[in-house]
């Protein structure tokens, strides 16, 4: 049978394609509604409300949950991000270096720190470092330790992002800069890196969101009352009040930051798409 013999409009037999498609979509709605109803009926709403939505408990969390816990979360995140960005930049440049050992070292770093759970690194910083170097204090106390631990994790991811961004800048840009008399280093700083950062702004912001959540791991360093961030604060209050409402409030505080950030990332990505044309 040649292609010309294949009937484009087969004889009507049972449902048409369009009818089948409509039926299948209808079935998906039915499944969805059934699942929602099953969940709503089976959950014990009364107990859930008692445990998670006690207004007076929620009210007594303010303003501390914002002025202390959220503030610390932001502080940990931003300092970790700063350390990660600086270290990530360094590792990305090492990864692109023409000197072999630099490339290997950067590669090893990335493989190790991408492969380890962030929790393990926090424990390592909190326990192993003071043991290994007795007497040395990481500057900034808990804040310094968090910045270092989060930074070490973030740097591995950011290094790969930055490297990809630098490589995404067309080769002609470096050639143009060199032909104007820029040294390789100066061309990198003045011409290539600024363009790379425009490309990687969305993934870097995503990394910020990830760090924001990972800052909860500070729990495992042992913190003073003033150093508590959202998760620790919520958990402490939950155990003193024997109620889970603080956990819910802490969760909402995270979303207060992560959802707008996610929105910003999507806007930037859409804009970048537009710019490419």
């Amino acid at each position: 049978m040649t292609a010309a013999d294949v009937p484009i409009q087969p004889k009507k037999k049972g449902l048409t394609r369009r009818q089948k498609r409509r039926l299948s979509r209808g079935a998906q709605y039915v499944v969805f509604v059934a699942a929602v109803i099953a969940f709503a009926v089976s959950a014990d709403w009364g107990r859930l409300k008692n445990q998670f939505a006690q207004w007076d408990i929620a009210r007594q969390m303010f303003p501390d949950v914002i002025t202390l816990a959220l503030k610390n979360t932001v502080l940990y995140t931003v300092s970790g991000f700063a350390v990660g960005l600086a270290l990530g930049m360094l590792i990305a440049l090492m990864r692109l270096s023409s000197v072999g050992p630099y490339r290997w070292l950067a590669g090893i770093y990335i493989e190790i720190f991408r492969g380890l759970p962030a929790l393990l690194i926090f424990i390592f910083i909190g326990v192993a470092v003071p043991l290994a170097f007795p007497g040395t204090e990481i500057v900034g106390g808990t804040y310094g330790k968090v910045a270092l631990a989060l930074g070490l994790v973030a740097a591995a991811y950011m290094a790969e992002t930055i490297r990809a961004g630098i490589q995404a800048v067309p080769k002609g840009q470096m050639e143009a800069a060199r032909s104007l008399g820029f040294s390789p280093a100066r061309a990198m700083v003045s011409i290539i890196v600024p363009q790379a950062f425009r490309i990687i702004l969305p993934p870097l912001t995503n990394e910020l969101v990830l760090l924001f959540k990972d800052s909860s791991l500070v729990l495992f360093l042992g913190v003073t009352l003033e150093e508590r961030e959202l998760s620790k604060y919520g958990r402490d209050l939950a155990s003193t009040t024997a109620n889970s409402t603080p956990i819910l409030v802490a969760g909402l505080c995270y979303l207060l930051v992560t959802i707008p950030l996610g929105f910003v990332v999507r806007r930037m990505e859409a804009k970048a798409q537009e710019a490419v044309r």
């Binding site: 002609g172 050639e175 800069a177 104007l180 820029f182 003045s190 425009r198 710019a275």
Partner: protein, 256 residues
């Protein structure tokens, strides 16, 4: 002719096993405009890129303004400041405005002060007829305008020599004229220019000399009227007939 501004001696360049340049000797005098023509893959762009060492020659020497570019101890960044280069793909810096494209290299490389760099930028934008685009971003300009900005950017560094690597090949046909007009003016002002091009009209009217390259060697070198008007070599004749009248070409057997 006094000391040649550009001098190429026994230049070889290989990419792996592929020998692209097989012994080039070429001299370009001060204020001379030389057009390099030839089929694609003949090595003409590679030759141009060897002059400012964007490609490292495998063998041979290149002198620009009496300085040996190929000397391993030369300060290549300093030499390149004297050599302007214009690329086929313009290569403007897209994150900077037109003026910033001109001022940033002056400030970072030549260490000019802000006012001086701005003044030089304005002068050179006027030279290429784009003063009114000073604050635009490259992406909002046409290809022809971008290429003229690229020429102005190179000129703002005060080069003694200008290299053009197929400056009009990426342009829509109706935009080629503006770029060639700028180049013609530059030639008239006495700039030493080495131009890799397919624009035969430009070569005939503006060039002092035309160099025809094929297979990594210079096949013919002489006045435009001679090389384009009355080519001596069979390869030159063949190339020119295909270029000037592409519709008349016959299907050929590919020889490897």
């Amino acid at each position: 002719m006094s000391r040649p501004e550009i001098q190429v001696k026994g230049l070889h360049k290989s990419f792996g096993d592929n020998e692209v340049l097989r012994g080039i000797d070429l001299e370009i005098g001060q204020g001379e405009v030389v057009c390099v023509i030839g089929p694609s893959g003949s090595g003409k762009s590679t030759l141009l890129r060897c002059v400012n060492l964007l490609e490292e020659p495998t063998k041979g020497q290149v002198f620009v303004g009496g300085t040996e570019v190929t000397d391993p101890d030369v300060d290549i960044d300093a030499v390149r400041r004297r050599i302007g280069m214009v690329f086929q793909q313009f290569n403007l810096f897209p994150h900077l405005t037109v003026t910033e494209n001109l001022t940033l290299p002056q400030r970072r490389v030549l260490r000019r002060d802000k006012a001086g760099a701005a003044r030089t930028a304005a002068e050179n934008l006027e030279r290429v007829g784009l003063s009114e685009k000073a604050d635009a971003y490259p992406s909002s300009l046409s290809g022809g305008q971008q290429q003229r900005v690229a020429i102005a950017r190179a000129l703002a560094m005060g080069p003694e020599v200008m290299l053009f690597d197929e400056p009009t090949s990426a342009l829509d046909p109706e935009l080629v004229g503006d770029v060639l007009a700028v180049m013609r003016r530059l030639a008239r002002e006495g700039m030493t220019m080495m131009v890799v091009t397919h624009e035969m009209t430009f070569a005939r009217e503006v060039a002092d000399r035309v160099v025809f390259m094929d297979g990594g060697v210079v096949v013919e070198d002489g006045a435009p009227a001679q090389v384009i008007g009355n080519p001596q070599n069979e390869r030159t004749r063949h190339f020119l007939s295909r270029l000037l009248d592409p519709a008349m070409a016959e299907v050929e057997e590919e020889k490897s």
